[in-house]
């Protein structure tokens, strides 16, 4: 590897792969198809974060690449001797600091939005077990485990999340929801699914041997279908 250019090219390819991968990452399902208002807000925030940080990413990697290409040791060309520039240091301290303050604005707004449950139209309880999920509908007296959660679309659903044994985490990527299920504590989340459909997720906190098999399925149906389903469940079907 005698030539700096060849390896700088390789570096460029490596960084190119990195950048392409970062750009391609919105292939993530929740980014393409956020199913709830919260997930859409998270996506918007993500894009804002990418926009703010892309500038610094490109600047830093770009300068690195240029330096590597330009400043290879050559006979008769001595290294520069400067090693201080107070103004420059102030600039590169202040600008990222300002960028972070700017970015914290939408982050906190989105956080507040996730945090504040609107008036709930259906309350459910989610209980983690090793290694399955139990769902309860207190208003209907319905309790079941190890099968799909069923909720109506368009309704605001609030969930109390807890665990009976170890820490689990209820995670449905398309909903923008992840909430730890802690024994002895009750956490709250809410969601409002835009469209009927089947949504997949799985436990996100290591909970023992079969952590990898602790799946979540949420069937989102029309309110009418939901009423029919819950009536059947009440009858013990």
């Amino acid at each position: 590897m005698k030539n700096g250019r060849a390896w700088a090219l390789l570096l460029m390819v490596g960084l190119g792969i990195a950048a392409a991968a970062l750009i391609a990452s919105p292939a993530g399902a929740w980014l393409l198809h956020p199913a709830t208002p919260v997930a859409r807000e998270v996506r918007t925030l993500f894009y804002k974060a990418v926009a703010v940080t892309a500038f610094f990413f490109i600047l830093a990697e770009g300068l690195l690449l240029i330096a590597v290409l330009r400043f290879r040791a050559k006979p008769g060309v001595p290294a520069a001797t400067w090693h201080e520039n107070f103004k420059l240091e102030i600039v590169w301290t202040a600008i990222p600091a300002i960028a972070m303050v700017i970015l914290s604005g939408p982050a906190f707004t989105t956080m507040k939005y996730m945090e504040t449950t609107p008036k709930s139209e259906l309350q459910i309880e989610v209980v983690g077990h090793q290694w399955f999920w139990e769902y309860r509908y207190p208003k209907y007296g319905v309790i079941f485990a190890n099968e799909a959660l069923v909720v109506p679309f368009g309704k605001i659903i609030s969930a109390n999340v807890t665990s009976i044994d170890v820490v689990h985490s209820w995670f449905v990527p398309d909903f923008g929801i992840k909430m730890d299920a802690n024994p002895g504590r009750i956490n709250h989340v809410w969601f409002q699914v835009d469209h009927p459909g089947t949504y997949k997720g799985q436990c996100a906190e290591l909970c023992g041997v079969l952590h990898g098999q602790m799946f979540i399925t949420v069937n989102v149906v029309t309110p009418e279908e939901f009423e029919r389903w819950i009536e059947q469940k009440k009858k013990g079907a």
Partner: protein
């Protein structure tokens, strides 16, 4: 940093090596030594031994995950291997090897004959041997090793859910490693504050010494908290105290606070000394002073300080208070500022330099390229809503490997390639060093870049198999891991071959310019006993 006029001053341990006493030889030389150079060397060997094991664990995991539904490992074994991979890489590779390199280099760089407390130094090292061995041995006991991740969240680690001795040995191992860290911390801080050669003012110290000083201070503050938490976990298991058990009036979330109060600063324990190495290697191979030395010192101290205020960003999905999350979120974003100062200063250091692309320099430049990526995803993860989306998914695995592999490990490799001729007195094969670099750089991106996508798609971490929709990214990651495995094998062979029949290294194999030559390059390779015949005076 040239040595000026020298003053004669007998070393405090002079009698051990001076006429009248016989230096020990053979195995006893190593077993009974209190010489910082021998202890540092043993640290490095031991850390690489554990690195090989933890790396092999990673290879087995990537084999299991190469395609969905494989049965290379049973789920319970996967969890043990995964837990030990994390634990060993953190506690028995990265932290000890940083301590090892610092042990070797810092006393020479500040112009001292040894560490302040040589025997304590030996204790620090030897504690690590039973610590790692016990934990490793637990794999073969009934019930196997601890299987709750390197974070070991209770109640999963309570006796009810982890009945075997694995977790007990995990706790014991970490206790010993923690004690080793604390003793080492005292030693480093005292050494750096008190044993500097005449004229070696604090702000004349090489950057590596500064980062070690800050790191060891972090260790002194943070590690006792971990020790306390471990003791609580142990009494929960042994005597049913219930600190972390909701049914007994305790709270599992308390462990998470205590654990991360140590383990977030531990990230800086693992990366700051690496940054110090980079801050020396870049100038050495650019022929230029480090840019903005004082700014770098302040940034190091700033990262160390703010590092104590961000532990809650590991707990955004735990259900902690809204205001706490807001605070931790902002504090985490603030870390980007001093980290940025470092990145910009490194870029300014090489800018206009006369760059020589030797192996240490390649790893140092690779460090910058990769650390930027880890830093950017770190900013994203500081944003609570985005963090909640990808927390406990492979996105976090990708991020932490860009910081700890792209950061710490690349720096360690840079440091090993840089100082190995000094330590062993032998040169290594430059060509194979460069091959190692490229395989590492490419393999690293192949392995960990796809993990961002897995996380974005919703693949949780720490699962022994996965749904078919994540398959393509896992294929790529496993292929990348194979490339890394080949690279690391080449590294091991190259290093061993250099020890066996490498050419003799001169005092300064890198031909430092006068501005960048630190004291270790003014003495022979390896340095003489007690480092200096006469203590140098720094002008």
């Amino acid at each position: 940093m040239e040595a000026g006029t020298v003053v004669a001053r007998p070393g405090p341990y002079a009698e051990a090596v001076h006429p009248g006493t016989t230096p020990r030889t053979g195995i006893l030389k190593w077993l009974l030594t209190s010489d910082h150079k021998l202890i540092g060397t043993m640290y490095i060997w031991l850390a690489f031994f554990f690195f090989a094991i933890a790396g092999a664990f990673a290879m087995v995991m990537r084999t299991q995950l190469a395609a969905p539904g494989l049965h290379v490992l049973r789920p319970e074994v996967y969890n043990q291997i995964m837990s030990l991979h994390g634990t060993f890489m953190v506690f028995f590779f990265t932290i000890p090897i940083m301590a090892g390199i610092a042990n070797y280099v810092v006393p020479i760089q500040i112009g001292a004959r040894d560490m302040a407390f040589p025997r304590l130094n030996a204790v620090s090292f030897w504690l690590l041997v039973p610590a790692g061995s016990l934990m490793l041995a637990s794999l073969f006991l009934q019930g196997g090793a601890a299987a709750a991740g390197w974070t070991s969240y209770p109640p999963l680690t309570n006796r009810q859910y982890s009945p075997g001795p694995g977790v007990d040995l995990w706790i014991l191992g970490l206790h010993l490693a923690g004690a080793s860290s604390i003793l080492g911390g005292i030693n480093f801080v005292v050494t750096i504050l008190n044993l500097r050669a005449p004229g070696m003012k604090m702000f004349k110290m090489p950057m590596f010494c500064w980062t070690v000083l800050v790191t060891q201070t972090i260790i002194l503050i943070a590690t006792p908290i971990l020790a306390g938490a471990l003791t609580m976990a142990l009494t929960d298991r042994m005597f049913g105290t219930g600190f972390f058990q909701a049914v007994a009036g305790g709270d599992p979330v308390l462990w998470q606070h205590l654990f991360w109060f140590y383990s977030h600063p531990a990230v800086y324990i693992m990366v700051l000394p690496g940054m110090g190495m980079i801050s020396q290697i870049l100038p050495a191979f650019s022929g230029k002073h480090l840019f903005g030395y004082k700014g770098m010192v302040l940034a190091t101290a700033g990262i160390g300080f703010i590092g104590f205020l961000v532990w809650g960003h590991h707990m955004f999905a735990t259900g902690i208070d809204y205001r706490l999350r807001q605070f931790f979120s902002f504090a985490s974003m603030v870390i980007a500022v001093p980290t940025g100062i470092k990145i910009w200063s490194w870029l300014a250091t090489i800018w206009g330099g006369s760059l020589r692309f030797r192996t240490p320099m390649l790893f140092a430049l690779g460090f910058i390229a990769l650390f930027i990526i880890g830093g950017i995803t770190g900013i994203w993860l500081a944003l609570v809503p985005f963090d909640v989306q990808v927390h406990d998914t492979y996105f976090v695995v990708a991020h932490l490997h860009y910081v700890l592999f792209g950061g710490s490990l690349m720096a360690i490799m840079a440091g090993i390639y840089y100082w190995l001729p000094k330590i062993s007195g032998k040169l290594y094969n430059e060509f194979w060093g460069k091959v190692h670099f490229w395989l590492t750089f490419i393999g690293m991106n192949l392995t960990f870049m796809p993990m961002h996508m897995m996380g974005m798609l919703g693949m949780p971490r720490r699962i022994y198999t996965y749904r078919p929709e994540f398959a393509i990214w896992n294929h790529i990651a496993s292929a990348g891991a194979a490339v890394l495995g080949v690279g690391m094998t080449i590294f091991a062979l190259n290093m061993l071959l250099s020890l066996w029949r490498g050419r003799r290294a001169p005092a300064d194999p890198w031909n430092h310019s006068d501005e960048t030559r630190t004291l270790e390059w003014t003495v022979s390779s390896p340095p003489p006993a007690e480092n200096f015949h006469t203590i140098p005076v720094i002008r």
